[in-house]
């Protein structure tokens, strides 16, 4: 299985950088929890609940999204533009579909790994998140979706600068605007429309509802699955473009 070959390589990479990866991905969520949750959390309420309660699933969504996106896009970009190790796949007898799926899976696992810490952190606040199968499933979808976005972005850029611009212009705004920190329903109508088109809005909704025990929003689930389907297809196609024959 060639997918396993990719996963093996990324697993070794992960082990070599275990402490760096682990510590750096802890910083951001802890900052958010301290500033928004603990700092403001007691004074604010959203939907009749303390803000921290509302915030936790949002952070879970943002952290899985960002880490899977970063993990894939950095690895692919550096492999293509820096150490050029990416081309070893191209002159090897490698199916581009396996290559793509391998990286999307590796990114998904990195997203889940980052998410696991939010569960642990939440345990020390007054609002522990309950782990359920449905919740993990939603996190997998979120991570997979943003792994694919990271994959596509890093496959089409020609410089580091382009990728960081895409991250700053698209990924970072998205991570704040899509209901991770507030309720989208509070927004003016036109604005809401735009936000409803973005995938993170739907994954965040799914994650939050499931973690509150409100059940699955099937409309959002459908949108997310459609997104994943098309982004995966595009990822594979872009990868085949690298094989010139």
């Amino acid at each position: 299985m060639q997918i396993k070959t990719i996963l093996w390589r990324e697993w070794r990479f992960f082990l070599h950088r275990f402490w760096k990866i682990t510590t750096s991905q802890l910083v951001t969520p802890i900052l958010y929890i301290i500033t928004f949750g603990i700092g403001l959390g007691d004074k604010l309420e959203v939907g009749g609940q303390p803000y921290l309660f509302f915030l936790m699933p949002g952070i879970l969504s943002m952290v899985t999204m960002r880490n899977s996106y970063y993990a894939v896009s950095m690895r692919i970009m550096l492999g293509r533009l820096n150490d050029r190790s990416f081309e070893t796949y191209i002159y090897a007898p490698m199916k581009m579909s396996s290559l793509t799926l391998g990286y999307l899976l590796a990114g998904t696992l990195r997203g889940l790994y980052a998410g696991a810490f939010i569960f642990i952190i939440s345990f020390f606040t007054k609002r522990a998140i309950d782990v359920s199968f449905a919740l993990v499933f939603m996190l997998v979808l979120n991570s997979l979706l943003f792994s694919a976005i990271g994959f596509i972005a890093s496959m089409v850029v020609d410089t580091h600068y382009d990728l960081s611009r895409f991250t700053n212009m698209v990924i970072t705004p998205m991570s704040f605007l899509c209901g991770t920190f507030y309720q989208v329903s509070n927004l003016p109508k036109i604005f809401k429309w735009v936000i409803e088109l973005l995938p993170l809005t739907h994954t965040t909704r799914l994650i939050r509802r499931v973690s509150f025990g409100y059940g699955i929003d099937y409309f959002s689930l459908l949108i997310v699955l459609i997104y994943i389907f098309f982004l995966t297809v595009i990822s594979i196609r872009i990868c085949y473009r690298e094989i010139t024959y």
Binding site: Q2, K4, T5, W8, R9, R12, F13, H16, R17, D83, R84, S85, E87, T88, Y89, I90, Y91, A92, P93, M94, K95, I243, T244, Y245
Partner: protein
């Protein structure tokens, strides 16, 4: 057998490979010799399927790159001009990765890796991270990775650039051995010595074209085995030392007589030096 038919590859307006055709027999040790910018890398990358030619066809033993690229790729080993190792991983992990990539049987992986690393003198260093290796060791690891699946064809793009003399000789010895085992080797170089000593077929390349191909002995004999150089500017070639001596007998200019090298051959046809 490798066959290239009317290959063209351009970057914008410049043809880095400009109508190249050749055929080489299995077991050949081919050297592509030319100065920087001649198009050697582009030609090699086109041959191994990393670049798509604008026109032309490449085939290996009657399998066409266009159609059977997966099958062909199983049978070629590649050492690119730049180092493309996974820096974070150790030597051993890089090897396991290559072995998995080329689908070597699980129970044979360790054996093959040990054998290959020992051949290239890297076995003792196998747990060292790649980013901590010297240039020569990295290059040897690139070669080890390229041959782990016992390919029939080995492509090496300037494999000894920037490497100390001992390591270079070691690599040469190794490549000679592989060639003796019947492997076809395609090597690019701008080192005259490398082409002269290793290759049984040399193709001279300049401006995207291969303008001459033969073994180095014939390439040299064709213009004359001995060179007379006056004041380091004018050059004349003679077939024997006797003729060269006769020609210089009455000269009152400063001159030197030496054996013709491939560098001279290259200069003779192009007015350009390889180095």
């Amino acid at each position: 057998m490798i066959k290239c038919e009317s290959l063209y590859k351009s970057y914008g307006d410049i043809y880095a490979v400009n109508n190249v055709s050749f055929e080489i027999e299995t077991g050949t040790f081919l050297g592509l010799l030319g100065p920087n910018g001649a198009g050697k890398t582009t030609l090699m990358r086109t041959m191994i399927g990393l670049l798509e030619p604008n026109k032309g066809e490449i085939s290996f033993d009657n399998m066409k790159m266009q159609k059977d690229n997966l099958e062909i790729k199983k049978r070629i080993g590649v050492v690119t001009q730049h180092i493309n190792l996974d820096k974070e991983l150790t030597i051993n992990e890089n090897m396991i990765f290559a072995a998995k990539l080329y689908r070597i049987n699980k129970d044979k992986i360790n054996l093959e890796i040990t054998k290959t690393l020992k051949l290239l003198g890297l076995y003792e260093l196998r747990d060292r991270k790649t980013k901590k290796l010297s240039g020569g060791m990295k290059r040897k690891l690139m070669i080890a990775k390229a041959i782990i699946h016992n390919p029939d064809y080995i492509f090496l793009d300037e494999p000894t650039v920037g490497i100390d003399l001992n390591t270079r000789k070691e690599i040469w010895r190794f490549l000679r051995q592989e060639n003796k085992k019947g492997k076809t080797i395609v090597l690019t170089t701008h080192y005259i010595e490398e082409a002269e000593q290793l290759c049984d077929l040399v193709m001279l390349m300049s401006d995207g074209k291969i303008f001459k191909e033969d073994n180095s002995k014939n390439l040299i004999s064709e213009i004359g085995d001995f060179k007379v150089e006056y004041n380091d500017t004018e050059m004349y070639f003679y077939n024997s030392l006797r003729e060269a001596k006769i020609a210089t007998k009455n000269s009152n200019k400063i001159f030197s007589i030496s054996k013709t090298s491939l560098e001279d051959v290259f200069f003779h046809y192009t007015n350009k030096k390889v180095n």
